[in-house]
């Protein structure tokens, strides 16, 4: 099958790779770029485990072909912490609130929550539940994820008011 060379910007770095046109973005990230933090939970766009930020917006990387991402900026779970490895405030809140158990949905939850907080810095519980309702988690019952997002928003407010 015909192969196409594509250039992606993944976690702030330009990468070139060669894909067949039918390869999904998530397979490209996982199998070619070996960024296995992004997970595949259903291959049909429902569970949200494969969510990544695409030019800042959360998308399902199982529903997009890798060739469609040519020239776009992609951020995966591997790119959420600072360069020096310091966790983002959202990651740290997930940790503090025990917002993950098996951790399989976590990358998608982080992506969905981080997009929510960009759009709405002070979300209520219903807003958070709505924002993550497209991401399935079988372990947590969602409550500690909601609490983690609330804690992040609270900490950002504190930082803003102190700064």
């Amino acid at each position: 099958m015909k192969q196409t060379e594509i250039t992606l910007n993944v976690n702030g770095r330009e990468v070139k790779t060669t894909v067949s046109p039918r390869m999904t973005l998530v397979d490209c990230l996982r199998d070619l770029l070996r960024l296995t933090g992004t997970h595949v939970g259903c291959e049909h766009g429902i569970c949200g485990a494969c969510s990544v930020l695409f030019d800042g917006e959360p998308i399902r990387s199982c529903l997009m072909f890798a060739v469609q991402a040519e020239g776009h900026e992609i951020r995966t779970v591997e790119g959420l912490a600072d360069e020096d490895g310091t966790l983002s405030d959202l990651q740290d809140s997930f940790w503090e609130c025990h917002a993950m158990q098996c951790g399989y949905c976590t990358p998608g939850m982080l992506v969905a929550s981080s997009a929510l907080l960009c759009e709405n810095p002070d979300p209520g519980e219903d807003d958070i539940r709505e924002a993550i309702s497209g991401n399935l988690c079988r372990c947590t019952g969602y409550q500690q994820i909601v609490e983690a997002v609330q804690l992040t928003a609270k900490r950002r407010k504190e930082v803003a008011s102190n700064g």
Binding site: V77, M100, C102, T106, L136, G141
Partner: protein, 779 residues
Amino acid sequence: MMKFEKIGQPVRRLEDGRLLTGRGRFSDDWSLKNQAYMAVVRSPHAHARIRSVDTSDAENLPGVMAIFTGQDCIADELSPIPHSPEPSTKYDMKLHGPGGSDVFIGNHMLLPADKARYVGEALAVVVAETLAQAQDGADAVFIDFDPLPSVTDTKLSAVVGAPVIWDEVPDNIPVETFFGDKEQTDAAFDAAAHVVEMEFHIDRVTGVPMEPRAALGDYDTDTGRYTIYAGSGGSVRQKREMAEVLGEEADRVRVISKDVGGNFGTRNRLYVEFPLVGWASKKVGRPVKFTCQRTESFLTDYQGRDLVTKVSLALNGEGRFLAMRADNLSNVGSRMVSLSPLSKGSGLITGSYDIPTAHLRSRAVFSNTAPTNAYRSSGRPEVTFAIERLVETAARDLGIDPIEIRRQNLIPPEKMPYPNAVGMTYDSGEYEKNMAMAMELADWGGFSGRRSEAEARGKLLGRGFANYVESSIGTPREQAEIHVNADGHIDLVIGTQPSGQGHETSFAQVVAEWLGVPVQCISVIVGDTDVVKVGGGSHSGRSMRMAGTVIVKAADELIDKAKKLAAHVLEAAETDIEFKDGQFGIGGTDRQIDLFELAGVFEKHENLPEELGGGLSVIEDNVMETPVFPNGCHICEIEIDPQTGAFEIARYTTVDDVGRAINPLIVDGQTHGGIVQGAGEALGELCAMDTETGQPLAGSFMDYHMPRADEYPSFSTALNEVPSPTNPLGVKAGGEGGTTPALAVLVNGFVDALRPYGVRDIKMPVTPRKIWELIHANS
């Protein structure tokens, strides 16, 4: 109560750093150079004889390397999976075949050559250069079927004349066992003032771990060893069973199972694809990878629940329970993989209540469906549903307050340990206190005001209530190995396998507590059978209790060993050495040495007496048969819009007795997740089947209703920690209590809301459409 510093603290989990940054090691994350891919040819029929398999077209497709069928398994003398379906520890409810016969198990071959017994059953595999080529190859395998009549429904499978799944079991009933006392029960029913009878089908659902199962097999021709990278509920069992299937000694198989994306029972038993990738790797001389697609998971994951239960309760004129009858029929699917749900449920039919006598018939039935297995709280949500719906209905039918009827029939603490009427002995619990705590937390008294307020908005508000007690038994043996390294860290090697329960943290808390060191210096090593050689896996709420007990035993032994060395180093008598906060010292002096310094002495010292050799390490084994009985009380409030049938869970409150909670943060998470997993079955989850053709109708997330974040409120939870007297830490279990009563409490809530419309029962899953129909059927 013992006083602890690290046990009981909400310590941040040690495993989370990697999970938050995408550095987990889930099954499909493993890849090996030059790996080939395996795709599975699955049965499109619920029941069909296999006339022949034609692989010639597929063999000629690009990239296809090999195709294996049931005949190849026979030719290579592969053995069936050695399932051990019967729970067999000392205190399990023992099941047998009709008339006391042995239970028929049947041959679970990796690829059957005789017939397909359910839609999705693996019949052949194709190995190819790429996954797409393997899938194309699988599509091109032609199987000539002779379709047979099929049956999937639980009751219909047990009817005389139903299609026969196994020729050896012409009535499809491989298990029939009676428990309790029939004569006493009959006499009590004859003398009863009231008898309330109900029948329930706690229908088929599936575990849906978010990580689909996957396996990578790598056969090494030089060593003759298979390495299988495959996440499961317990790698030690997987290794043993795979070795047996492949006809190899156990040490020829190594299983690596690191991060596991959820289990819930679904991964406890061996799947055919795991030994298949090993076998295929040997045949093609390359690593072979298989990753399940979500639809394959829906069709072929071992599924859960599916119990038909007919229950009746005899009461006297004052509402005192006199006796209970139950007739339980568990659908085990097409193959006998596990009888855990039937057995566990059999021991708990009388629930939290002091019912003097009972009689139970427990049967299993084969059908043309995926095999069933333990699913979160195996067997207990089903019987809890039956008893709590029955008690609730009895109270309503007899005009007694449902709380009062429960209170007057609860097992009181002074009757503990309490032998119930079918032969289980509950260890401890304060059931009435659970109820009182839950009612206070739920603002029981404020309900009528909330109901009026809802009514003013045109809504119905219902309230559900359920008590529960469940058993935690599980494989009795566990092993712990503790090794203290001079560089300041401690390895704990333990056999039980986590899949999100936080073992790396809670087990570390126990070690840290005992050895007086920080939690963070402990590494819990799991999931590589070359390192972890013994262990029972995570099931039946056993891990914290079994591991905690053996860790304490091992840590005590380690301290004894270290004391001997400390005495040697400090030139003192062993009896003068005191151990405190990680330091070994001589009482009344400042002479002391810490644990890690001692480890250094072990590592360097060449002239130690013989009994002090071997490093600062211990291996300890423990066998603990005695079960424990977590228990509690849940309350919910559900608001319904009678115009549309749409509903919302307004409140959900729990009080759980998990025994001692090692890490309350983790226990809370287990409770929340457990509630939603139980509620899922009440509110939407169903492995729907077309009963005519046996075709599953729920094959994706588009048609299987998974619980979502916006369907649930935040829960109000509390613990009533009554330490179990059966183990040194007082642990019961915290993983299943959320699930066990959730089905009952929610359906009780729906029925309460809809009572004005004459509703006495609703079959799960309760959907807006069902509610709307019930409202309109009676208007």
